[in-house]
């Protein structure tokens, strides 16, 4: 592998970088010939070493893979079969599937007649008819017309996607350097069926990573880990396991927009929002939880659990020990579950300590059965494309059920093997975590300062890729409509995609989530400039 070749014809490569393949648009630019692995894809390419990494990394991946195969070419042995069943009876389980009550109304798109199109389920219809939320529209626009410093300076700047590009170079470098691996496996080890809930080696590696990321405050047991293709299926699986159709989860607002889909869509489970207010800095109040629980009870809705995110998405705040203990007390009192989504645990940048739900569980107590943690590698390791989500539970029955469900959303063994190696390099991981945190902190400080100069205040946040900004002074009317009008201006005039609070079910209009991790420091003035254009014309007269 000769690196000198990479720097050939730079200018033509730069040009091509701009011809980025659109995800949603009709005119797909295809550049692949039969041999090429890497296809120029649309994306917000910042140009920082992108070229170099873009050529070296895929090369490294391939070098890695073919070297791996070369070293371990031996007789493929039969893979381990499915996880063994609970009871090895000689009988087929006689099962009657209970008819679950429909929670979605059926809507026929066209009248049913012979020759007319066949029926599509209520679940499908609700999606097709639902149309696109601002969250989706914004993402799409940003993808269709992405900002690029030199190539597309008027494009849409993406501040609506909680993705961390700040430290990708570190991961890339690691891949370029490391083609070392020590497992004794043949292609059978990558190609064959493996346990759907993930390789044990990866579970061990992930347990170690989780511990490192949380500053070694907790020890995670690999056998309590279920791996799945991303955090979305992890949440959906827990929803399936902990609640029946028609049951509900209490979720403090504002919450991450996609939770609606993950928790409710196919499961038929409800979300009962528990409002948090700006007066409390959007902190969770047990009183509000209690009120929501009782209201649900009166309505005849069975509440099965609480879903929290810590660090919070979209606010970015951390739950302190006291609140976590209170939550546990509350859950114990009502005999319900707690799902703690700790996806951004490693992306803290403030001075407050992050406390995982795992840390405060009293291991001797019954409480273990009600606590489940969701984690993933998309945020803390910047690898959403690899699709790695984690359910960490103390409840054996939940683990057993979730394990069986992983067959529907299992991680590619190829990616698992690669990750085992990466995660096992603890020096690299330690370095990565530290540098990433530092970069996050810098960006956060600069970005928030920039907003402050415009007169926009944010809730003090200690984690996550975003800040929760108070734009109440700029909305034409103190309502969701007013908020969406501002959002629209920001998207279509200022060409900045941000997430409006209404998408996050915030009860107070005027709050917006700004993600800053897809930017470089150079972009900040550009962003602020654009926002200023809107804020200057939008000061509400009150």
């Amino acid at each position: 592998m000769t690196r000198t070749r990479l720097f050939r014809s730079r200018s033509s490569e730069e040009k091509e970088e701009e011809e980025q393949q659109q995800h949603y648009s009709k005119h797909n630019i295809t550049t692949s010939t039969g041999m090429r692995v890497i296809v120029p894809l649309q994306g917000v390419v910042q140009g920082r070493g992108g070229l170099f990494l873009g050529s070296v990394i895929p090369c490294a991946l391939f070098y890695f893979f073919q070297l791996y195969l070369k070293r371990h070419r031996s007789e493929p042995k039969s893979p381990p079969p499915q996880p063994p069943p609970e009871n090895s009876g000689g009988q087929l389980a006689e099962v009657s599937v209970s008819v679950l009550p429909r929670s979605l109304s059926r809507v026929h798109l066209t009248p049913r007649s012979p020759g007319g199109p066949a029926y599509v389920s209520g679940r499908a219809n609700s999606i097709v008819k639902g149309g696109d939320s601002p969250h989706d529209v914004g993402l799409r626009k940003a993808l269709e017309d992405p900002y690029h410093q030199s190539g597309n300076p008027d494009g849409v700047i993406q501040l609506g996607l909680a993705e961390n590009k700040l430290s990708l170079d570190l991961v890339g470098e690691w891949l370029a350097k490391n083609a070392i691996f020590g497992e004794e496996l043949s292609i059978g080890g990558i190609a064959s069926y493996q346990p759907f809930d993930g390789l044990m080696e990866l579970k061990v590696a992930v347990a170690g990573f989780m511990s490192q990321v949380m500053k070694k405050s907790v020890f995670f047991n690999p056998s309590q880990i279920i791996l799945t293709a991303g955090a979305n299926p992890a949440i959906e699986m827990l929803s399936f396991c902990l609640a029946d159709t028609g049951n509900a989860f209490l979720v403090p607002t504002p919450y991450y927009p996609c939770s609606d889909r993950d928790v409710k869509w196919r499961t038929g489970v409800e979300i009962i929002p528990v409002p948090c207010r700006s007066a409390d800095n959007f902190r969770l109040s047990i009183t509000a939880l209690d009120r929501a629980f009782n209201q649900a009870k009166k309505r005849g809705t069975k509440v099965r659990g609480i879903i929290i995110s810590n660090p919070s998405n979209p606010v970015g705040s951390l739950l302190d020990r006291e609140t976590l203990y209170s939550l546990l007390d509350f859950a114990r009192e009502k005999n319900i579950h707690i799902v703690s989504n700790e996806l951004f645990a490693g992306s803290t940048h403030g001075n407050e300590e992050f406390v995982s739900m795992a840390e405060i569980i009293d291991l001797e107590d019954l409480d273990r059965n009600r606590v489940h943690i969701v984690y993933g590698l998309s945020k803390d390791l910047s690898l959403p494309g690899f699709r790695v989500g984690i359910i960490y539970s103390f409840n054996d029955n939940v683990l057993a059920a979730a394990k069986k469900l992983t067959r529907f959303s299992s991680i590619s063994v190829l990616s698992q093997r690669l990750l085992v190696f990466m995660l096992s390099d603890s020096n690299f991981i330690q370095q990565f975590i530290e540098i990433n945190r530092e970069r996050l902190r810098r960006m956060y400080i600069k970005f928030v300062a920039g907003l402050k100069q415009l007169g926009i205040e944010c809730i003090k946040s200690h984690g996550g890729f975003y800040c929760w900004a108070d734009m109440r002074g700029y909305i034409p009317s103190y309502s969701e409509k007013g908020e969406l009008e501002l959002w629209d201006k920001l998207l279509n005039i200022a060409k900045v995609n941000v997430t409006p609070g209404s998408c996050c079910h915030c009860i107070e209009p005027g709050w917006f989530r700004f993600c800053f991790t897809t930017l470089t420091e150079k972009d900040i003035p550009v962003v602020m400039d654009r926002i200023r254009k809107i804020t200057e014309t939008c000061k509400s007269h009150s």
């Binding site: 592998m1 490569e13 970088e17 550049t31 692949s32 041999m35 090429r36 692995v37 890497i38 296809v39 994306g43 992108g50 990494l53 873009g54 050529s55 070296v56 990394i57 895929p58 090369c59 991946l61 391939f62 195969l69 070369k70 007789e75 042995k77 039969s78 893979p79 381990p80 079969p81 063994p84 090895s88 009876g89 389980a93 099962v95 599937v97 012979p114 020759g115 007319g116 199109p117 066949a118 029926y119 999606i127 990708l168 991961v171 292609i187 190609a191 029946d244 005999n335 579950h337 959403p384 494309g385 699709r387 054996d396 069986k404 959303s409 299992s410 991680i411 590619s412 063994v413 990616s415």
Partner: protein, 444 residues
């Protein structure tokens, strides 16, 4: 397990505690026995030989060879921050290059007799997910899909568990080689109606698992006419389409549709995967190809729960868009499977065992009904038990595939080396000889 507690322990959902996951059937129990005592040529020659897992290991070397010779060529991608995109890419549309490669691969398998549009390819993490997803989309809880028996045991779980949808069997039997008849289709539909269950579609597997045979053109036409008449969907699971021993013998539903200028096609959805044909089940690659725009849109969004790792998509896009490789692979794979099939059929025949005439797949459908003590399910399970614990072969009993006639077994032959297959055949031979001897002794 759980410790004894006084307070009621916090509850789980019906889905979590239901047994619809089906993992308590012999189909899976046999795997447990294998797991505890797996055969190994050198270290455990008397262990259980796994013949219950439909996995294709006969063509690994072709995959390896490709990857070794194409690593350099594929890495000098012009422009692009490949790794950056790779690492961050999580768009449920999937990589266009990969979708194109899949569409082209599917066309090649069908000898170019059908065209596939990459825009209709929806990616999922395996065909298991694809089947479940389609069920979520096409039916509501309490509705039913009609599925011809015998069928893949996993359907009980994949189609029913979380979806709450029922399966109503279309009964097929050996009198006509288990082919689907219009009468059987009507009977199943009526059965559902009588139980007040709405039928939403028919799901066929072509080539069939466990029969190991393709569905004939006339039968496909009949099935398509049936679903059109009833205004329901047709899901055609064609995951073994590349494992047909002779290319000309496989007719895809796609061909039927093209012959009719795609009239009424919006009710048809094809499921495919690389787990069987390409022997890459670990990669978790499945697809839904739907002729219905709405289904494509919804399936795409729902695939958020089951995305394929971008790294895997990249790798496979390169492999599958290389026509030279795919042509050679498909051809060679077919030949090797045919050879294996012939080997096992001959071996079984010389032991006095007949199989259904097959022409596809990674398994054969073996008839052991003459050996049954009683022609019942219990008799079949008793025989299955003997095979597992005495002969040390894990094969799948027909009852776990809901076969209406006892005595049939699915035997996989592609997940082992030729030597191991010979060992297995020898054991069967010895078993049959012993039975013959025992019978003769009884007579005397």
């Amino acid at each position: 397990m759980a410790i004894e507690i006084e307070q009621p322990s916090v509850g789980l959902s019906k889905v979590a505690v239901s047994e619809t996951h089906g993992e308590d059937s012999p189909y899976f129990a046999g795997w447990k026995a294998y797991d505890e005592n797996p055969y190994d040529e050198l270290t455990n020659p008397s262990g259980v030989i796994q013949m219950g897992l439909a996995e294709n290991q006969v063509s690994f070397d072709l995959l390896e060879a490709f990857l070794e010779t194409h690593s350099e060529a594929s890495s000098w991608g012009k422009g692009a921050s490949g790794f950056r995109e790779n690492a961050l890419f999580q768009d449920y549309h999937g990589l266009l290059s990969f979708r194109k490669a899949m569409a082209s691969f599917m066309e090649q398998i069908r000898g170019g007799r059908a065209k596939f549009d990459p825009e209709r390819v929806v990616l999922t993490a395996g065909a298991t997910a694809a089947n479940e997803l389609l069920t979520f989309i096409l039916a509501d809880p309490g509705d039913a899909l009609l599925v011809p028996t015998p069928y893949y045991p996993g359907f009980d779980r994949d189609l029913r568990w979380r979806t709450g949808v029922k399966i109503v069997p279309i009964h097929c039997d050996s009198s006509n080689n288990f082919q689907i008849t219009p009468q059987a289709l009507e009977a199943a539909y009526s059965e559902a109606e009588a139980m007040n269950i709405k039928v939403r579609g028919v799901l066929i597997t072509n080539p069939s698992n466990p029969l190991g045979a393709t569905i004939q053109r006339s039968v496909l036409e009949e099935i398509f006419d049936f679903v059109t008449r009833k205004n329901i969907h047709l899901v055609s699971d064609e995951i073994y389409s590349g494992s047909v021993f002779s290319s000309s013998e496989f007719i895809s539903i796609a061909e039927i549709l093209e012959a009719r200028q795609n009239k009424n096609s919006e009710r048809v959805h094809i499921v495919y995967s690389l787990s069987k044909d390409l022997g890459l089940p670990g990669f978790r690659v499945g697809t839904i190809y739907s002729y219905n725009d709405e289904v494509v849109t919804t399936a795409r969004r729902m695939s958020s729960f089951t995305l394929i790792s971008s790294q895997t998509q990249h790798l496979l896009a390169s492999m599958l868009s290389n026509k030279e490789f795919t042509e050679n692979y498909i051809k060679t794979n077919r030949e090797r499977l045919r050879k294996r099939y012939n080997m096992i059929i001959e071996g079984l025949r010389s032991a006095g065992i007949e199989c259904l005439k097959g022409n596809a797949g990674l398994f054969c459908w073996m008839n052991l009904s003459p050996l049954l003590e009683k022609p019942t399910r219990e008799g079949e399970l008793a025989l299955w038990n003997s095979m597992l614990h005495e002969v040390k072969l894990n094969i799948s009993p027909g009852s776990s595939c809901h076969c209406s006639e006892p005595g049939w077994f699915r035997v996989c032959f592609a997940n082992m080396s030729e030597q191991t297959l010979e060992v297995a055949l020898k054991r069967i031979h010895n078993f049959m000889e012993k039975r013959e001897r025992d019978r003769n002794l009884k007579v005397i």
